[in-house]
């Protein structure tokens, strides 16, 4: 007797026959009929037409029949809401039944019926069941609150069910506690700020007690909830860790991983010299290793998480390399993950073993895996210097196999090895060149071209090789085209005599025959560089490149910290912050690790991304060296004492950026070549060179106005009298910031200083969660509020943002005085740049001095504080100059004419109360002005002079 008989049909028509059976008088027949209906339902057949007949069977003493009808109801009530009402009475009656099983079943089923009319009737029975004497009913009712919340959140709040649910956390039965926690966690997900799970030491204690006694699933819920708690001090942290550690030995891998999450997070609080800290580290390794002997699906999730753990605390698994060795029958998704972790764990101690394994993998069948294995060999070479030579020879062996995709992968990684160890392995270039023809993948072609260009002086026939690529230039992918362009320019700079024709050919191909803006722009840059200043061109193009970092694909530290707090979740599988992919409306709390090294702020403040800006802790920052560390603090991550501070990289970026940004700007900006039109037409170019005065839409988040607006402003710019607004310049080029380009300027409007920025997303992925912070600076400039970028920026979109500034921030003298160092954070990384603001931003509107006071002050300031400057090529008369300067809050107090020379006496007041007095001498017919500045703080004079110059000349 099997259920397959329920699927057989007769000619009469199934529905008709079932209807008859359902209305039969015989109980047994009825039950069989309901079973048939359920069977049809499970395979997706529509049996909703039988609704009234099935519901009629509900009034029965037979529990099985009742359950079956309930199953049916849950599926179809939604489609027949009016009929579903018929069932309410029975539900309400069942909720009063003597048998707790039936009470629980009724309240459970009622919650599954997603019909508004029924939910109204649910409230009273649910309230009773939440206080039922039987824990089985209470625990079922707890889940029912979550169901009801999903259907009608308002109702749940109005009826006070949330408070009742919170009370259940203190229930005497651990299963009830676990379900209450689970229900609250689910509800909290749609109410990020509701503080539903108000964790305090008392509740934590209750949870920890329940943890030992509830089911495995309950343990997962409780552990995940515990992970949100921030212990008050290291002792509390330790005691929680001690009570959670036994969960590492649970047979359920989800319990194990959730326990690992709690421990990884709370460990941060423990002092590293504590014995217990070491013990805990040792305890973490074996359960992680054991996860790898589970089913492949479990292994996959475990491996994705181990990948995070290894990045955060490599010491845990450093001796366990062998468990990550790949077996040939592992599923491909497990193989690839294992490989990733092997590279992360590779060190001088185990590199021989790892290389032997990788070489083995490179001869396997699966193409994806083989490719990754070859790539891994390259990464080992870069990571472990001692092994580089062996890696290179292994790669050469692999190239000899002549397997096409192996050769291509090998060439790509050899390029990286060249970047890491320049001038060391060039002897292999000859071998590489032999395989030139077989390369058909863009990445491999680009890599090979890069190698040829970079070492053009050592390759005799470099020009021939590159020329051969040039033939099919337009059929190549952009990547190859760009690389080819650069390589030929490099070649030209190295061997100018023989390759002039070649370089002209490629420049014209790139600029005239291509409609790819990136390629064209790069072509133009090279062209102009080469035509105006070949020396500068050489400096730029053949500049010494920074060595590539050892770990190429490390997760950015703040993201890693957030992910560590989310171990075991989908976020940890995708290595993306939860906010990046959890369905839109649901708010997500950003979690951060709190470490013991923090300055006593043990209470974690759940920040919601935009609020990431706060006052940096007041402390004297003595030198430039600590500055970066300070900037790193901005995202509220207290420095941790383990792991190398990632300060070195941003430092390099700052330097490199200045070189490129500044250098190119001045090179390009001075020229007015006929290219102007072209520049205007390509928005990227326009923004990049800051040529057109920026449009200033004051509205936040206005979409970029585009080329037309820019042109408009070109004409209108001169008319506006008032504050001089410098054009936007690129502060942060996209290549330094993973695709984020920031250009901006400063404005002062009716006493408010604003930093106006255009954020341009040139990356492939959406950017969000922007926040900004300044380093302390000369005049205490600081954001007056958070950076208002409310919507994520999608690729190729740009957004205007205006950030009001205050001048009450911490002060530190900068060089130059008006230098401002800025950190911008988004979901991808934290980026640093510096920019200079015109000092006139700081001139107050009430900066006009009384004549008498002026005279007295002028005399009072010692003469050594006076400085004189020349402003050349200024063709304004004194009145026009005076007007113009007034727009920037430089006030003319008096004017005197002596021997055809106009003397303007002017004053201005800085936000920090410093007065600057000026005497401007303008001689009719002479374009050169002389200016004398007197100030009690003579350091500002240089800046003020520069400001005069820019205001007068624009």
């Amino acid at each position: 007797m099997t259920d397959s008989k329920y699927f057989t049909t007769t000619k009469k028509g199934e529905i008709f026959e079932l209807k008859a059976e359902l209305n039969s008088d015989k109980k047994e027949k009825k039950k069989e009929a309901v079973k048939k209906v359920i069977a049809s339902m499970t395979v997706g057949k529509d049996v909703s037409a039988l609704f009234p007949d099935v519901v009629n069977c509900m009034q029965t003493d037979n529990l099985e029949l009742k359950k079956l009808v309930y199953l049916y109801l849950m599926n179809y009530a939604k489609s027949q809401p009016d009929m579903a009402i018929m069932a309410v009475n029975t539900f309400v009656k069942d909720c009063e039944d003597l048998n707790p099983l039936i009470r629980a079943l009724a309240v459970r089923t009622m919650g599954c019926i997603r019909v508004d009319k029924i939910t109204e009737y649910l409230c009273e029975p649910l309230r009773k069941c939440l206080k039922d004497e039987d824990p089985y009913v209470r625990k079922t009712a707890a889940v029912c609150v979550a169901k009801l919340h999903d259907i009608n959140a308002q109702l749940v709040e109005d009826q006070g069910f949330l408070d009742t649910l919170k009370d259940l956390i203190s229930d005497s039965n651990p299963m009830v506690v676990a379900n209450a926690v689970a229900a609250l966690s689910e509800i909290a997900e749609s109410h990020p700020n509701s503080n539903l799970l108000d964790l305090n030491p008392q509740t934590i204690n209750k949870l920890l007690t329940a943890l030992n006694e509830c089911t495995e699933w309950g343990q997962i819920f409780i552990l995940d909830c515990l992970a949100n708690y921030s212990p008050r001090d290291d002792r509390e942290s330790q005691s929680i860790c001690e009570r959670v550690t036994p969960r590492l030995s649970h047979a359920n891998s989800a319990v194990v991983l959730s326990a690992v999450k709690v421990l990884m997070k709370f460990m941060e609080m423990l002092p590293k010299d504590l014995d217990y800290y070491g013990t805990l580290l040792k305890k973490l390794a074996p359960p992680l290793v054991t996860l790898l002997s589970a089913e492949p699906e479990l292994q996959y999730v475990a491996l994705r998480n181990i990948n995070l753990i290894v990045q955060r605390r490599p010491e845990i698994l450093k001796h366990e390399m062998k468990v990550f060795f790949v077996k040939y029958n592992d599923p491909i998704y497990v193989k690839l993950e294992k490989l990733d972790i092997m590279i992360r764990l590779a060190s001088q101690a185990n590199i021989a073993q790892v290389l032997a394994e990788l070489k083995e993998y490179a001869t396997e069948v699966d193409v994806d895996f083989v490719r990754k294995a070859v790539r891994a060999i390259g990464r080992c070479a870069i990571k472990v210097e001692q092994s580089a030579e062996r890696c290179v020879s292994t790669l050469l062996d692999l190239i000899q196999t002549k397997v096409n995709y192996v050769v291509q992968e090998a060439i790509v990684v050899i390029k990286d090895i060249f970047r890491k160890y320049p001038n060391k392995y060039e002897s292999v270039i000859a071998t590489l060149c032999e395989h030139l023809e077989s390369l058909d993948e863009p990445e491999a072609r680009a890599a090979m071209i890069w190698i040829v260009g970079e070492y053009a002086e050592r390759i005799d026939n470099a020009d021939e090789l590159l020329e051969s690529f040039l033939e099919g230039f337009h059929d190549e992918s952009t990547q190859v085209q760009l690389q080819l362009l650069t390589a030929i320019v490099k070649l030209f700079l190295k061997k100018p005599t023989e390759t002039q024709e070649l370089v002209q050919q490629v420049l014209s191909l790139a600029t005239q025959d291509s409609d790819n803006p990136d390629l064209r722009d790069r072509g133009y840059i090279y062209w102009r560089l080469l035509s105006t200043d070949p020396v500068a061109a050489k400096e730029v193009v053949l500049a010494e490149k920074p060595l590539i970092s050892e770990e190429t694909d490390l997760i950015e530290p703040t993201l890693l910290e957030e992910l560590i707090c989310h171990i075991g979740t989908l976020a940890s599988v995708y290595h993306k912050p939860p906010s990046a992919f959890v369905e839109g409306s649901r708010g997500v709390q950003h979690k951060r690790l709190t470490s013991s090294a923090g300055s006593g702020e043990s209470v974690e403040s759940p920040d919601t991304g935009s609020a990431a800006v706060s006052e940096a802790p007041p402390a004297v920052i003595p030198s430039q060296g600590d500055l970066l560390g300070d900037l790193l603090n901005l995202d509220l991550t207290p420095p941790t004492s383990t792991g190398p501070p990632p300060a070195a990289a941003p430092g390099m970026q700052l330097g490199a950026m200045d070189l490129l940004g500044g250098g190119l700007d001045s090179l390009m900006g001075d020229e007015s070549e006929p290219l102007g039109g072209d520049i205007g037409g390509s928005p990227a170019m326009g923004a990049g060179f800051g040529a057109p005065p920026a449009a200033m839409p004051a509205s936040f988040n206005a979409p970029i106005s585009g080329g037309l607006d820019d042109l408009f402003d070109l004409g209108g710019g001169g008319m506006t009298m008032g504050t001089y607004i410098p054009p936007k310049t690129v502060w942060l080029p996209a290549m330094k910031a993973k695709g984020l380009e920031i250009s901006g300027t400063f404005v002062r409007r009716s006493g408010v200083i604003q930093m106006e920025m255009t954020l341009n997303n040139k990356a492939m992925s959406v950017m969000s969660d922007f926040a900004i912070q300044f380093n302390r600076n000369s005049f205490g400039l600081a954001p007056a509020g958070p950076l208002q970028i409310l919507t994520p920026i999608s690729p190729n979109q740009s957004i205007e943002a205006a950030l009001p500034l205050s001048t009450v921030g911490p002060v530190m003298k900068m060089e130059p005085l008006n230098n401002l160092q800025v950190a911008v954070k988004n979901n991808i990384d934290v980026f640093y740049f510096s920019c200079q603001y015109p000092i006139s931003m700081l001139f107050l509107e009430d900066g006009k001095m009384e004549r008498q006071v002026f005279l007295a002050t002028w005399k009072d300031i010692p003469n050594e504080n006076e400085s004189q400057f020349q402003i050349k090529d200024c063709h304004l008369n004194s009145d026009a100059a005076s007007n113009k300067l007034q727009g920037s809050n430089i006030f003319t107090i008096a004017k005197r004419t002596v021997e055809g020379q106009d003397m303007l006496y002017q004053s201005m007041k800085l936000t920090n109360g410093i007065w600057v007095l000026a005497e401007l001498r303008v001689q009719a017919g002479n374009p050169n002005y002389t200016i004398s500045l007197k100030c009690r703080a003579p350091e500002v004079s240089q800046c003020v002079f520069q400001n005069y110059e820019t205001v007068l000349k624009n």
């Binding site: 259920d3 991983l257 002997s293």
Partner: protein, 418 residues
């Protein structure tokens, strides 16, 4: 939490669906089918897939896909563990987990699923508890049910479910009281072509079959518990006792269950019971190759190696194999390119050997990859790690039970590279 479950067969047909919240159209599975198409082999379908509005988390077991749909952030391991539990339960109820058996018992499966999850939260997943609520079908019961009209759904609250020992039901009675334990160890190893062990570890498990009356309290001690690198226990085991005394102390569930899993790895030397001498090569000239494999005993702790079997996944170009085996039979499956050599018992005096020639597709290039050998074997009455149970005691009940411990060593993932 878990929103919906779809059961999908090997061919890609959905044959059962269950929703715990609102109904999700089965078209959501299209994303899965796409990934399945891409993965070629069903084993290679990634277990976590992202779709625009849902996440699909799946497992592949017994040629069936268990695909769950989730909408919010849930721990994926929790979902995967649960899916395996569903498969275990089906196997436990019906003897095996197959499409035809599920279809034969579709209503029971549906009722089970309803009991296992509520609103996506696990409700009852312990086999003991489930069996009290929904009785597994037996021929006898279905006959009785038809005659008397009684049902196979329990109408009492399962007793164990809310006690502090949810895994055991109250009032268990047996006439023969027995407690049997199987210590089963699997060797996972990779041996390279020169015979050196690249990696070896032992996965151990203690399976229990306990039929004892009342509420017995058992404790088990080992001769050498320090061997174990990592352990994970059934929830019934008292962790504190293990921490302090290295003894397993527990009130057992009724029936069959896994008491403990353990892991012995690099810290302790893992013995490899057999050695393999092999030579598989393909000639540069002509479409053929040679194969020569000999297997001999290495460290077998004085026991016989049984059920010895070698499986080789040959390169695609290999058309046929013309081999002679001194012992056992070999077969070569042309479609899957798998060569299986079933040896049986290993006789140390006369080592089994398989040799001969392989013929390749003419014109095909010499295969790049060298096939790995997969070894299967069994050794009775020994746990290769050396683990031994020293005592098994029972408290709390007066009767004297039959007790027994058996040992078995198997090859798990035992690979020899060539």
């Amino acid at each position: 939490m878990i929103h919906s479950l779809f059961l999908i067969n090997h061919a890609g047909d959905i044959f059962l669906e269950k929703h715990w919240k609102s109904v999700i159209s089965r078209s959501v599975c299209d994303y899965f089918f796409e990934a399945k198409e891409k993965a070629v082999e069903p084993e290679n379908v990634p277990p976590v897939l992202q779709t625009p509005h849902h996440y699909l988390i799946s497992i592949y077991r017994d040629k069936l896909f268990f695909l769950s749909v989730v909408q919010t952030e849930v721990p994926p391991l929790f979902v995967i563990e649960f899916l395996h539990r569903v498969a275990d339960t089906i196997q436990d109820y019906f003897g095996e987990c197959s499409e035809s058996l599920i279809n034969d018992n579709v209503v029971t499966v549906y009722e089970l699923l309803e009991e296992m999850l509520d609103n996506g939260f696990p409700l009852a997943t312990e086999s003991n508890v489930l069996k009290e609520m929904i009785r597994p079908p037996t021929i006898l019961r279905s006959v009785v049910n038809t005659l008397t009209g009684s049902s196979n759904v329990g109408d009492k609250l399962p007793s164990g479910q809310l006690s502090s020992i949810p895994w055991r039901r109250a009032g268990v009675k047996y006439t023969n009281n027995e407690a049997y334990f199987d210590v089963i160890e699997e060797i996972d190893a990779i041996v390279d072509k020169s015979g050196t062990t690249v990696f070896a570890e032992i996965q151990g498990v203690i399976e229990a079959s306990v039929r004892l009356t009342g509420m017995p309290d058992l404790s088990m001690t080992f001769m050498n518990p320090s061997l174990l690198d990592d352990v994970s226990f059934h929830p019934c085991v008292r962790f504190k006792r293990w921490e302090s005394e290295r003894a397993l102390s527990f009130i057992p569930p009724d029936g069959n269950f896994t008491l403990m899993n353990y892991h012995v790895s690099s810290q302790n030397l893992v013995t490899i019971p057999v050695y393999v001498k092999q030579n598989i090569c393909f000639f540069e000239t002509g479409p053929c190759g040679r194969l020569d494999i000999t297997i001999g005993p290495k460290q077998t702790m004085g026991k016989t190696v049984e059920a010895l079997m070698v499986t080789i996944h040959m390169p695609k170009a290999v058309l046929s194999a013309n081999l002679t085996a001194t012992q056992g039979n070999y077969s070569y499956d042309l479609a899957t390119k798998v060569l299986v050599w079933d040896i049986g018992k290993l006789n140390p005096q006369k080592l089994p050997n398989l040799r001969g020639s392989l013929s390749l597709q003419s014109g095909a290039p010499k295969p790049e990859d060298n096939p790995s050998l997969n070894i299967d074997l069994k050794i009775q009455q020994v746990a290769i790690s050396g683990l031994k149970v020293s005592r098994l005691e029972m408290n709390g009940e007066k009767y004297k039970p039959f007790k027994g411990v058996k040992y078995l060593t198997k090859a798990g993932n035992f690979q020899v590279r060539t």
